[in-house]
């Protein structure tokens, strides 16, 4: 009972922290809208490039524009959602807190540290990218015919949630590393932003080495590619077991668990920069 009321209390605090963030960002309305638009445009231009290049090539390893748009739309929507919820764990915003020592403030407050970092930032402008992802997803639905079944409709939100959790795990892991490096660990961009780009395309386009990395090191293949095969009713070229499309929640769960372990270990071994 005590534990439950504690959790409820912390959730209330989290809601207030995020509420404050949102209120303060909405104070500058023009800034908010230009930020939202520019964030949307930024990622749209890459998809626009893809649309233009498909005018000449028609398909990539047998995947049509509509099918690639399915991959792109899914991962854009979920990455943008993650980028908003996990704003506090964005290595670019978290590393300066370690650098300047403001992270120490979290340690002094009588509240769960992880929840505090969650509530420390909430970039509402990421909605721009979410809309962009939804538009690409809409383009995909208009170009390919998906034979929807109740199972597919139920699994779709679960896949999106898994992608959010998995990419959030990568943010947490990258931020944890800054406890040791102090500098933002820039190579982490390879797995976060690089991961999004990698998951925009069917896995068959990559070399064997990259395919193995995306399967066994960071299981991107189960987060977007295999679910897409299931939704689009495409055959599996790799011959994985038939449950492979349903591993997205499992992969996300493992990634989140490992990232949180690293995060706790990082906090335990954290020594302030003293500034």
């Amino acid at each position: 009972m005590q534990a439950l009321s504690n959790t409820l209390h912390e959730l209330k605090l989290y809601r207030r922290m995020v509420g404050i963030q949102i209120r303060s960002q909405m104070q500058y309305r023009v800034s908010f809208w230009t930020d939202l638009l520019s964030t949307g445009f930024l990622n749209a231009s890459y998809f626009l490039g893809l649309v233009l290049v498909f005018q000449r090539f028609q398909n990539i390893r047998g995947w049509t524009l509509g099918e690639v748009a399915f991959l792109a739309g899914m991962i854009e929507m979920s990455f943008a959602t993650m980028d908003m919820i996990f704003s506090g764990f964005d290595p670019d915003t978290f590393a300066p807190m370690v650098q300047m020592g403001t992270f120490d403030q979290f340690l002094l407050r009588p509240m769960n540290i992880t929840l505090q970092v969650f509530g420390s930032q909430f970039f509402l402008r990421r909605i721009g990218r979410m809309i962009e992802g939804a538009v690409i997803f809409g383009v995909s639905l208009s170009l390919v015919h998906i034979a929807w079944t109740p199972a597919k409709l139920l699994y779709l939100p679960l896949v999106l949630a898994s992608q959010v959790a998995a990419m959030g795990a990568l943010f947490i892991a990258a931020s944890s590393l800054t406890f040791w490096t102090v500098q933002p660990f820039e190579v982490a961009n390879i797995v976060t932003y690089g991961g999004v780009e990698a998951m925009t395309y069917p896995m068959t386009i990559y070399s064997l080495t990259l395919q193995r990395i995306f399967t066994f090191v960071i299981p991107f293949i189960f987060l977007n590619y295999y679910p897409a095969l299931y939704f689009l009713d495409k055959p599996d070229p790799f011959g994985f077991p038939i449950f492979a499309p349903f591993l997205a929640p499992v992969a996300a769960g493992i990634m989140l668990f490992l990232a949180l372990q690293l995060w706790r270990f990082g906090i335990r071994s954290y020594t302030s920069t003293g500034t």
């Binding site: 230009t34 490039g49 000449r56 090539f57 390893r61 820039e186 386009i205």
Partner: protein
């Protein structure tokens, strides 16, 4: 001129101290380069050439565009915006060089370091993994340094012009992000323009964007030849002149209305 060289040299030295950032930037470029290369190889499939461009040529263009990211600051720069917002532009305005010359000098120093670390090293490492082509004809080798510098000049003038928005609005960063997004797609960075539809590249001929990246790629791979090379170089100079002229006029108006808060 002496002052220009001195600012450039200081900026070069400053840039050289960030070794770790250079290495991690290089690794990131390599990874994205591998992804882009995989996309282009898969797009080509069995095709030998597309719009006069061989797969080897396309891969070379992909590699070159990655190698120019830091040199031409393809993702944009926001330094001038920052100095307007934090007020340090006052000290820059007191310097015995114009704002444009000052930033051009700083950019020169940075660009030299980045061309070697992020450009040359990138090409060397990347060529271990993928078959790339080298320019074959002497005219290409003769023209390449010029179109490389020309592209950088156009890109600098464009970035400077975009940064001037800070004089009018507190949202210049958003405007910058949008402007640099447009230039990424239209300069041939995301995909070489030759692989995009003809109507698109024809329309772009009336803009400065292809001069920034695509011109260098085409001359290097050899898809732009003979007199066309010198026409492309002239186009670069033309756009540098236009953008610089525009930015001078806008800068003067901007500085006039600049009000700095103390503190």
């Amino acid at each position: 001129m002496n002052l220009f060289l001195r600012i450039a040299r200081l900026s070069l030295r400053q840039q050289s101290t960030y070794r770790a950032a250079m290495v991690s930037g290089l690794l990131t470029n390599l990874f994205f380069g591998f992804l882009r290369a995989a996309v282009v190889i898969a797009l080509y499939g069995q095709k030998q050439a597309v719009n006069g461009l061989s797969l080897r040529g396309a891969l070379t263009m992909i590699a070159l565009s990655q190698s120019l990211i830091a040199f031409s600051m393809i993702f944009g720069s926001f330094d001038l915006i920052r100095t307007v917002y934090n007020g340090s532009i006052t000290t820059d305005l007191l310097k015995p060089v114009s704002l444009f010359t000052y930033w051009l000098a700083r950019d020169t120093g940075q660009a030299i370091v980045r061309l070697i670390w992020r450009g040359l090293f990138f090409m060397l490492i990347f060529s271990l993994f993928y078959p790339l082509s080298l320019p074959e004809r002497p005219e290409q080798w003769l023209a390449l340094p010029f179109v490389l510098v020309g592209g950088w000049m156009v890109s600098f003038a464009y970035r400077f012009l975009v940064n001037l928005a800070a004089f009018w609005t507190p949202d210049a960063r958003g405007i910058g992000r949008t402007a640099f997004t447009v230039s990424q797609l239209c300069s041939g960075f995301i995909f070489p323009l030759r692989l995009l539809p003809d109507w698109f590249s024809k329309a772009l001929a009336f803009t400065p964007f292809p001069s920034m990246i695509n011109t260098f790629l085409e001359v290097y791979v050899g898809t732009t030849r003979g007199a066309a090379i010198w026409q492309a170089l002239l186009a670069q100079l033309f756009w540098f002149a236009v953008l610089t002229f525009l930015s001078q006029a806008i800068m003067r108006a901007g500085i006039k209305r600049l009000v700095l808060q103390g503190g």
